[in-house]
């Protein structure tokens, strides 16, 4: 281990999760550095929650390894889990407890020293704007407050890695803004990984985005590169089904993302974009593939999501502004 090359805060390798015959996560690799805020995007049922559960150590995968802050989730699970704060999609709350009582219990579960528990809880209460309701019974609080308590229990022990599963679920626009601000605020010396199907949320908060669909990772890119106009992207429609390698090694092509086997998002070098697209038809024809259509993509993420939505026949993905 070298000082100039610190280990990733999170390193997940070849994660595969199966429920019976259904493969929820298929061979996904993921890494996260300190200061990263990674948005995990995908339609409902894409495998986001399953992946987050594995990364948080809540469920074991059929295959793969997870290393958190240098600690293997298999051989050193206690230390690895101590570095993580996990807020599941369903807030794991006890409605009969007060907010403070619940957070004290959460702090003890995360091995915060008994003498420091009250300070840790006060800090989490303040950070999540819960100080005023700390003595109130959780069951009497609104959904927005319960979502905040969920967040507070995840960061009560000041974890290095924060994993949030759909933290914006069921929140009104004002609460959404607060949660976003909170996530941005806790980025220092930490990494945050959160799932969402709100594109805007990811674009506002994250510096990196991972898109998964059907348990497969389709995209893993810094957000800055996605909106970088020096790398124009085209949606390519083929008549036949193709493999990633058929398009990946074309001259001038930087990256290829599969929407399905006939629809591809191809990112090119800006300088050679026109030439690449002009030659695309001929090059593909030489490989036995007929090009039906090429369209420039203005918003890569939005385009990818629109296609996923069309393919899935669903309207669950929220594009543009969140409610």
């Amino acid at each position: 281990m070298h000082a100039d090359n610190p280990p990733s805060l999170l390193q997940a390798t070849d994660i595969t999760v199966r429920y019976g015959k259904h493969t929820a996560i298929n061979n996904i690799n993921l890494s996260l550095e300190t200061g990263d805020t990674l948005g995990l995007l995908g339609l409902n049922g894409a495998g986001k929650s399953s992946l987050l559960k594995v990364l948080a150590g809540v469920e074991a995968p059929q295959h793969g390894t997870v290393i958190v802050n240098g600690h293997d989730m298999h051989s050193d699970a206690m230390t690895a889990k101590a570095c993580i704060g996990y807020a599941p999609d369903t807030p794991p709350l006890y409605p009969q407890f007060t907010v403070r009582e619940f957070l004290l219990f959460a702090a003890r579960l995360r091995r915060v020293h008994k003498a420091q528990c009250h300070n840790a809880v006060d800090r989490a209460l303040e950070k999540c704007g819960l100080t005023d309701v700390s003595k109130r019974v959780i069951g009497n609080l609104s959904h927005g407050y319960q979502q905040r308590i969920n967040l507070a229990q995840a960061l009560v022990h000041q974890p290095r890695l924060l994993i949030l599963d759909e933290p914006a679920n069921g929140l009104d626009p004002a609460q959404l803004q607060e949660i976003r601000a909170l996530i941005q605020e806790i980025q220092h010396n930490q990494a945050t990984l959160f799932s969402s199907h709100h594109l805007t949320e990811v674009q506002q908060v994250c510096n990196r985005v991972v898109v998964i669909n059907g348990g497969n990772k389709m995209l893993d890119m810094p957000l800055s590169e996605l909106s970088d106009e020096s790398h124009p992207t085209f949606e390519v429609t083929l008549q036949e089904t193709a493999k990633q390698t058929d398009l990946q090694d074309l001259p001038g092509v930087l990256s290829v993302c599969s929407v399905d086997s006939q629809h591809w998002l191809v990112t090119t070098e800006s300088a050679t974009a026109s030439a690449t697209i002009e030659k695309l038809g001929d090059t593909l024809m030489a490989r036995g593939l007929r090009l039906l259509e090429v369209n420039p993509v203005r918003n890569y993420l939005e385009q990818l999501f629109t296609q996923l939505k069309v393919n899935a026949g669903t309207t669950e993905v929220v594009l543009g502004d969140t409610p």
Binding site: A60, V66, D72
Partner: protein, 248 residues
């Protein structure tokens, strides 16, 4: 950590209306059973006035404590069905599975809390029985042995209920499965089954405690079977959320 989880679970019981209702119902049933037993004893003593009956302790054990163990066999699955299944159903299991705690701490913490709650209910009955010692002589050793047997039986029933609670997300299903198992084990002895089945039945081992006999083999039976069932519960939960070594 076991202590943290036990205290948390006890607080949960204290704030659950279901637990209070169940405890009140149990006290009502056991209290009524106790009253009818003492009344029965008094009536029998009056009818045999010239030959006073001896052995109130034995009478209480046969007429009150032995039926109380059947009552607890019905109550334990209901009081323990939520231990793990309830957490899973409410989506709270992730709180434990994602925390840096051992599965054994979770299982033992919840087990101890459930046994303590039921022990407290039974201890109140012990208290009411000891009140009789102000008025008559009781064989305290016999009663203590019977209570120890009842307590050990409750511990075994709790471990079985906890095991079924680990298997499912539905508390009602866990309660039904544990009650069925306990009843089958109970009947294994009363149906005259001999050999392994008869030995496996908790009622076989409870009998000697109820007779006032302290046999270390019976004590070992209850301790070992409870420990084995708890170990299987821990193993099952570990199977779900513990990472395995990669073979590749």
């Amino acid at each position: 950590m076991i202590n943290t989880i036990t205290m948390h679970e006890l607080r949960l019981y204290m704030r659950s209306p279901f637990a209070w209702i169940a405890a009140a119902a149990l006290q009502l049933i056991l209290g009524w059973l106790f009253l009818s037993t003492t009344e029965q004893f008094t009536t029998l003593q009056n009818t045999a006035a010239h030959h006073p009956l001896s052995g109130l302790s034995n009478f209480l054990v046969v007429q009150f404590l032995a039926p109380a163990s059947v009552v607890m066999m019905l109550a334990t699955p209901l009081l323990c069905m939520n231990l793990i299944a309830g957490e899973k159903q409410a989506g709270r299991y992730a709180l434990f599975a994602g925390a840096p705690i051992k599965t054994s701490d979770l299982v033992l913490g919840k087990f101890i809390a459930a046994v303590l709650i039921q022990g407290a209910i039974v201890a109140i009955c012990m208290g009411t029985m000891l009140i009789l010692s102000w008025f008559t002589q009781l064989d305290v050793r016999h009663l203590f042995n019977a209570f120890l047997g009842l307590f050990l039986f409750i511990a075994l029933a709790t471990s079985i209920s906890l095991f079924f609670s680990c298997l499912t997300k539905m508390p009602a299903m866990a309660a039904f499965a544990s009650f069925t198992t306990l009843l089958l084990l109970w009947m294994a002895a009363s149906s005259g089954a001999s050999g392994v089945l008869g030995w496996l039945s908790p009622s076989t081992h409870l009998k000697s405690f109820m007779q006032g006999i302290f046999d270390s083999r019976d004590l070992l039976y209850f301790l070992c079977t409870s420990a084995i069932v708890l170990t299987i519960s821990i193993w099952h939960l570990n199977k779900i959320n513990c990472f395995r070594a990669q073979t590749q």
